[in-house]
């Protein structure tokens, strides 16, 4: 008996859907073992981590608040992922987007009007896109891998944030805390829509998911992205420019990260050193777990948001350290990546004789 891998002609559709679910279940079981090994009550910790946020109605709003930026950023990243263009610097674009919006807020402190919020949103998207344009220029003009350049720029953006909130944009009434001034009422959106408990970011995420669904399934652009990712040479013969796809995917993902940054700023009312929360990195997990499909990304965003909220619950109830959520998110990504094997390959059980015969035939 021997296990053999056989490449499928087409990725298995059912495996694409089944494997992320299996991964989540596998990680829950693994979690029980890990927590027990570390001396915590494993079953309870996993329960608090994955189920309490779902079953406790009061936690739903927290989940929605955390899911919104994850989904918005991950939708943008999913286009690039399909074309195998890796923007791993979304965290930086998210920060620069928030800074651009905070810049508008700084300039409009003495103004009121309905135009301020849209202006901040536009500035945030433009800021994120501009920051993502740097790796796009470097890749298309100089051939620099966008993986390293986009990541390096995250560290630059962190320093820029630190400089602005400790220096020029520091709140003059902030008791010398490194933070910007609180947004004025005309610079904010309500924290929930019509007293429904739904944060406005989630509505934006929902609309964006619909738009991305249309782009991916109904437009030539969506098709050309998949073509570049799956068969770059054929796509080039077909007349799709890979340079244009690099530009488009990076700019769109940058703008989406910036958009998420603006809504997070409006949610928190100000920027401080705690603002960079790693959503830009977690969104990469969301987009891979959601198989770069808008509906999948939406569900995956909620799952990852549950681990954030559940991590806090598990911290207070079972006293696990607060790094737990991050560890589980990484394990989840490992499981999804491993299960990709089942999507592209079929596992065949063959007898020894048959497989050695095949080897002889070369």
């Amino acid at each position: 008996m021997r296990l053999r891998l056989e490449k499928r002609l087409e990725p298995s559709r059912s495996m694409l859907i089944v494997t992320p679910i299996l991964s989540v279940v596998a990680i829950m079981l693994l979690g029980i073992i890990i927590f027990d090994g570390l001396g915590f009550d494993g079953k309870q910790a996993v329960w608090e981590l994955f189920f309490t946020p779902v079953l406790d109605v009061y936690k739903w709003r927290d989940v929605a608040t955390k899911a919104a930026p994850l989904i918005i950023i991950a939708l943008g990243l999913s286009l690039g992922n399909q074309a195998k263009i890796w923007n791993i610097g979304a965290e930086g674009q998210y920060i620069v987007g928030a800074l651009a919006a905070a810049g508008i807020a700084y300039a409009t402190q003495d103004f009121t009007g309905f135009w301020i919020v849209p202006l901040m949103v536009l500035a945030g998207m433009a800021g994120g896109a501009t920051y993502a344009a740097v790796p796009a220029v470097l890749r298309t003009r100089y051939g620099v891998s966008e993986v390293l350049s986009s990541l390096m720029l995250v560290y630059v953006s962190l320093q820029l944030l630190s400089y602005l909130i400790t220096g020029p944009w520091k709140d003059p009434n902030g008791h010398n805390f490194p933070q910007t001034a609180q947004l004025t009422p005309s610079q904010e959106v309500p924290n929930e829509l019509f007293d429904s408990g739904i944060p406005p970011g989630l509505l934006v995420a929902l609309i964006a998911a619909f738009i991305f669904y249309v782009i991916a399934s109904r437009t030539v652009f969506g098709f050309s992205i998949r073509a570049i990712g799956e068969a770059p040479r054929a796509a080039r013969y077909g007349g799709f420019s890979s340079e244009r796809i690099v530009w488009a995917t990076l700019m769109i993902s940058g703008a989406m990260a910036g958009l998420a940054g603006v809504f997070e700023l409006m949610q928190l009312s100000r920027l401080n050193l705690g603002y960079p929360s790693g959503y830009g990195f977690t969104a990469i997990i969301v987009s891979l777990l959601g198989r770069s499909n808008p509906i999948g990304v939406f569900i995956a965003g909620i799952v990852l948001a549950i681990t954030y909220v559940g991590g806090q619950v598990a911290q207070t109830v079972v006293h696990v350290p607060n790094a737990t959520a991050g560890l589980f998110q990484a394990l989840l990504l490992f499981a999804v990546l491993a299960s990709d094997l089942l999507v592209t390959y079929r596992i065949r059980v063959t007898s020894n004789i048959a497989s050695s015969n095949e080897r002889d035939r070369g």
């Binding site: 053999r4 891998l5 490449k7 570390l38 890796w86 791993i88 740097v134 470097l138 003009r141 100089y142 051939g143 620099v144 891998s145 993986v147 390293l148 350049s149 990541l151 390096m152 720029l153 995250v154 560290y155 630059v156 320093q159 820029l160 630190s162 400089y163 400790t166 220096g167 990195f281 990469i284 997990i285 891979l288 350290p321 607060n322 790094a323 737990t324 959520a325 991050g326 560890l327 589980f328 998110q329 990484a330 394990l331 990504l333 490992f334 990546l337 491993a338 990709d340 094997l341 592209t344 390959y345």
Partner: protein, 307 residues
């Protein structure tokens, strides 16, 4: 006065260069075998906490170093199994390894926050290591000497030995290497495990020498600089050694800008500098060498033997 200042500065530069030199040396071997592991930062953090915790619990720094290397290696093998045996995407898996390393090290490290270690000292007698002048050569931790020895040894291994030639062949043309009977996956597994051990050692340098305490994400992105360094060096040992010290100078500027307080630019500017320069140098090197540059031809491509 000036003399002391210059020697101080040089000793600082040599010290802070060492972890990126180590991590980049390990990654060089991995990439030469045709695999790109973006998990350097994560493996460094796992090594940093392992080295710190074991040294603190046992009082034996050598045991701490050994466990740090073992831990880095084990972490790298998670990556190895996924990309080699499961054919997973190397960029995504490497990134997952970094996120995993941050999470795992924070989880274990939560018990060790706020504790300081003694710090590993120079192996030479204090007549030399504390001498105002000779400490420039003898006043460093063992990590410093080992890092320089290691990159020279790797350069020799890659270019002058038969085993090094096989490793490069696997990275340049995996199918040919496979067809003449070399185990592509076996060699890549070995390279990944080696890279992980050295990244773990680099992390231990942070938590046992540079700032002998544990802090979450204490490697602060240096693992990414190490990855960029391999690209600038054009996948060669000599330029990698020189490039590492170049970055050491940039990182020292940040320390001195913070300490002196009357810097021309805000300290955040100096902190961002190594990353900005890394991006600029990447652009210069890549435009000179063309797309892909001198990268091993199979870098990042999965290899499925029977596929």
């Amino acid at each position: 006065m000036t003399m002391t200042f210059i020697i101080d500065a040089l000793v600082t530069i040599i010290g802070i260069t060492t972890p990126i030199l180590l991590a980049a040396s390990g990654e060089l071997v991995v990439e030469k075998s045709g695999v790109i592991n973006l998990g350097v930062e994560g493996m460094m953090l796992v090594g940093a906490i392992a080295g710190f915790a074991v040294t603190f619990e046992t009082g034996n720094p050598w045991l701490g170093i050994a466990v740090a290397m073992l831990a880095g290696s084990l972490a790298s093998l998670i990556f190895g199994v996924l990309v080699l045996s499961f054919g997973a995407n190397q960029v995504a898996t490497g990134l997952a390894l970094t996120i995993f390393g941050i999470g795992l090290s924070s989880l274990i490290g939560s018990n060790y926050v706020g504790i300081a270690l003694e710090g590993v000292e120079s192996p030479f007698p204090s007549v030399l290591s504390a001498d105002p002048f000779w400490r420039l050569i003898f006043g460093h931790s063992p990590f410093v000497y080992f890092a320089i020895f290691l990159i020279l040894a790797i350069g020799y291994f890659l270019n002058k030995t038969r085993a090094g030639l096989v490793l490069r062949a696997v990275g340049e043309n995996d199918h040919s290497a496979h067809s003449i009977g070399y185990s592509v996956l076996g060699i890549r597994y070995a390279a990944i495990a080696f890279g992980g051990a050295i990244a773990g050692l680099a992390g231990a340098d942070f938590s046992m020498v540079i700032s002998p305490l544990w802090a979450e994400q204490m490697t602060a992105g240096r693992g990414w600089i190490a990855l960029a360094l391999v690209v600038f060096a054009g996948w060669r040992a000599g330029p990698l050694l020189a490039g590492a010290y170049f970055f050491g100078v940039l990182m020292a500027l940040e320390l001195y800008a913070k300490a002196s307080g009357y810097a021309i630019m805000p300290s955040q500017f100096w902190a961002a500098m190594p990353y900005l320069i890394a991006v600029i140098v990447l652009a210069i090197i890549s435009s000179r060498d063309g797309r892909g540059g001198k990268a091993p031809a199979c870098l990042g491509k999965p290899f499925i033997p029977n596929g």
